[in-house]
Symmetry: none
Subunit: 234 residues, 2 copies
DNA sequence: GGGAATATTCTAGAACC
DNA sequence: GGTTCTAGAATATTCCC
């Protein structure tokens, strides 16, 4: 999948254009072969090529897009020197725009626009906020350490949990009522608190069994003159 | 004294150019007569006219200067409408650039570059540093998130633990042995696993009670022919 | 359809001369 | 102050759910 969308209507047409030398004024660089591309006649290029792939025919808009996608203009010695660049030559390059390396096009990404509406207005306030935030973050200990401690805590708690579970299972009690005796049904108690949801979604490569559901015990129904017969399974 | 210097080498040449209709692609506007000027062929204008008055032949540089001196591009209906602006037409205007009003040219001033005071510069630097630091700290977001998840896990486990504790307390059973009866001493069982150490040293501003010590149950001593009397505290 | 992402256009910033 | 390259900002337009 080629993500070099740079407003190219058909993802690869401009690329093909370059590779096929369709226009003599739109070519790969021959100096550092294929490391940049040239536009040799801005006027013709803008009028003849651009409309085929964009909704405009302005070189400036094309350049804006190139910059937006990280292309940089190649400034050769002519510009800064004495030699007049008589030929109408514009050269652009991009780290990942290389002749014969279509697979690198996917690394060409549009720059994200930095939204800073409030920031510009109340610069001072934001500065303070930033300072505050940084201080807050600074005061925090190394997150890794925290993580480590927390993780040990989790392991410990899980072990506790397992142990308690075993205890509860062992003390699993059956109460037989004299009245309308339902023999050997488990004693159910409740402490009245709502059942906590199982929120253990943290996936960690630790060899830990999933936490068992706590052993809830429902209230015993009132029953007059009952004599509990209790069995203990150990 | 004419101050319309807009980089025009000779102060009035471009003006004369316009007024004399020297080029058919560089004209005063006829719509709102003399309130703006047109460049009808960017390519020719850039190559034929600009070098005569500037040290370049780029339309972009010319436009940059126009903007620098307060000229604004005139956006006509064509651009936003359905009619394709087939003619290569660029129109600029300035409040004080009016055909037949040379005397107003002196009001056209180059925009002053906003000189950043040292204080502002320093602030800007600090802001940059701060932003950088914040970005660094934000890269630790993963750890923070992990922390968050771990913390929720800890809280959940602690709740479970508390609940089980309550259950165990409720089911707190006294077994009275017939033989050398120690009445109503708590039943102690053990599942054989070692007692987990309490490693909860993580201090967090969470309103959580300290974890209670788990309810360990020791093994019942063997005792021949015992008949368990069991009380259930509910 | 509506909101986010992207394109197009005009203007300004910034580096360098 | 000028030229150049790049980015900001304001609209358009398109994309995608």
């Amino acid at each position: 999948v080629i993500t070099f969308n740079l407003a190219f209507q058909s993802k690869t047409e401009l690329w093909q254009l370059l590779s096929n030398n369709t226009f003599h004024f739109f070519l790969w660089s021959l100096f550092q072969t294929g490391a940049s591309f040239h536009v040799f006649d801005q006027g013709r290029f803008a009028k003849e090529v651009l409309p085929k792939y964009f909704k405009h025919n302005n070189m400036a808009s094309f350049v804006r897009q190139l910059n937006m996608y990280g292309f940089r203009k190649v400034v050769n010695i002519e510009q800064s020197g004495l030699v007049k660049p008589e030929r109408d030559d514009t050269e652009f390059q991009h780290l990942y725009f290389l002749q014969g390396h279509e697979h690198m096009l996917e690394h060409i990404k549009r720059k994200v626009s930095i939204v800073k509406s409030e920031e510009t207005k109340v610069r001072q306030e934001d500065l303070s906020k930033l300072l505050y935030e940084v201080q807050l973050l600074r005061t925090q200990q190394d997150n890794m350490e925290q993580n480590e401690v927390l993780w040990r805590e989790v392991v410990s708690l899980r072990q506790n949990h397992m142990q308690q579970q075993k205890v509860i299972n062992k003390v699993s009690v059956c109460v037989c009522y004299d009245c309308r005796c339902v023999s050997c049904r488990p004693l159910m108690l409740d402490d009245g608190s709502p059942s906590p949801p199982s929120t253990s979604k943290f996936s960690h490569s630790h060899p830990m069994e999933p936490v068992q559901e706590p052993f809830y015990i429902q209230p015993v129904r009132k029953c007059a003159n009952y004599t509990p017969h209790i069995k203990i399974f150990v």
